[in-house]
Amino acid sequence: MSEEKKLFKVTIDNITVDVEPGTTILNAARMIGGEVTPPAMCYYSKLKNSGGKCRTCLVEVAAGSTADPRPMPKLVASCRTTVMDGMIVKNITSERVLDARAGVVEFLLLNHPLDCPICDQAGECHLQDLSYEHGADGTRFEFNKRVFKKHDLGEYIQLHMTRCILCYRCVFTADQLTNKRVHGVLDRGDHAEIATYIEKSLDNDFIGNVIDVCPVGALTDKTFRFKNRVWFTKPVDAHRDCSKCCGEVQLWMRGDEVFRVTARKDEWGEVKDSTKGGPGWICNECRFEKKDPKDWTIDGPTNVNRHSVISQGHYVNVVKPKETLPDVMGGRGPKLLMNIHSVSDVNRPEIELSKIPGPAHSDDFKKSLDNGK
């Protein structure tokens, strides 16, 4: 019989939690949850060997362990440091950590273009959240931000290298989910960039997951590109029978149109485990080709944190009042003084934006205008 597992006692921001040996400080903090959890830009629990690159999860270790209670001299990356029994960790209670984190955010934003108004990731971007919380108002950077030659990664995935923070998550995803990785980080230092060496498109059944793991808007869905803003679409849990993946996804709908399909995410912004066990990665077919609500069985709206911009305008639990006019008027309904759909140029029924393969262009709108008249 194996002996009873000894649990390590670790104190994070004055909250004590018992965790198994070998757990990282970050995961111990996630067990507590809430504000105590350090933010993570590169660590991804579902990807082996991820973490240790972005330095946003730095914490202060005030006491190494019960056996050796000396503090660690420098701040440590909580995603890579395992806990010891009796360890005392300071995250938001430490001035040093907050200062260091503000510095890390400043570094991450040095070359980030801050084109959030254009970026499709805005609203669900981890860097955006991080800079809101820890970033400074201005920049001290006086040089030009780096620019890159544009790489085409095929018809499904859009790469914006300027937004990349080099977290390597997409590289690990390609290594661990697909049988052949064709993209990687080329060059070094300031020139380092995600690319395929020779113009090559990413086409593997599971390569679409790089979009979900990307913490910023560097890798985005081309089939959703510029179609709508994230916060105007309604997240709905749905599933279908898929031979390649678990088939459990989140549809981002507007009306009856499916604008985007993503994997379901947990509270840390990582892909949720599917009900069949294992991380719920989804295949390219589910992600890019099933843009018809008929393809899916809808399970119901996704629970969204009330403070997220994505929850705006969704009006959960709204009771539609009964139309009383027909009762009073002997069956005659209210007279519509103006039907907005006959006047408005936006959301015309003949333009189904969600069905256009790539981003819409000026001719898409012109075409429909000719058809309409």
Binding site: W231, F232, N347, P359, H361
Partner: protein, 181 residues
């Protein structure tokens, strides 16, 4: 009953006398008040021939701004629509194609942009939300219209004239306030 102000007067309900029933003195009194107004300063003006100066914070009809080269500033980021308490703003975005760089400042632009002026409450939150300096509330009133359909303002109605092609109209649209600032 306690009164709110000390200016309230009890209504006099006594039956009218014969002198009062003739009404003539009351009419004369009323006419004298009217006559006296002929010689007073008029509180109104002859709009539209004359206009009053706008307050520096006046919020009128929206304009969609262009940059110095005449390119549209709006990138259809949707922040004005999300800020709008009346949900009056809708838009559809498109990607700029090669050869359209002189029309739109950024990679993404609003292919359709609409403000429902029936819904708009002229609060100016769209102006405040805009990260691209693209929408402004100008110094004009929203013109009246006989039909509701006329109040759905598209991009044609909202865009400011091109400063390169029509500098005069552009200057007029920019208004007094901007020139001072």
């Amino acid at each position: 009953m306690q009164t709110l102000t000390n200016r309230s007067k009890q209504v006099d309900r006594h039956p009218m006398t014969v002198w009062e029933k003739m009404y003539l003195p009351a009419i004369a009194k009323g006419m004298s008040i009217t006559l006296s107004h002929f010689f007073k300063k008029k509180p109104t003006i002859n709009y539209p021939e004359e206009t009053r100066p706008f307050s520096p914070v006046f919020r009128g009809l929206h304009i969609l701004n262009r940059d110095e080269e005449g390119r549209e500033n709006c990138t259809a980021c949707g922040l004005c629509a999300v800020a709008c308490p009346a949900e009056a703003i809708t838009m559809e975005a498109a990607e700029r194609k090669e050869g359209e760089e002189h029309l739109y400042r950024e990679e993404k632009y609003a292919a359709k942009y609409e403000i429902n002026m029936l819904r708009c409450i002229f609060c100016g939150l769209c102006e405040e939300a805009c990260p691209k300096d693209a929408i402004y509330l100008s110094e004009t009133f929203a013109p009246s219209n006989y039909k509701r359909e006329g109040f759905i303002y598209g991009k044609n109605d909202l865009l400011i004239p091109d400063p390169k092609k029509e500098p005069e109209l552009y200057k007029k649209a920019v208004g007094e306030r901007a020139r001072k600032a």
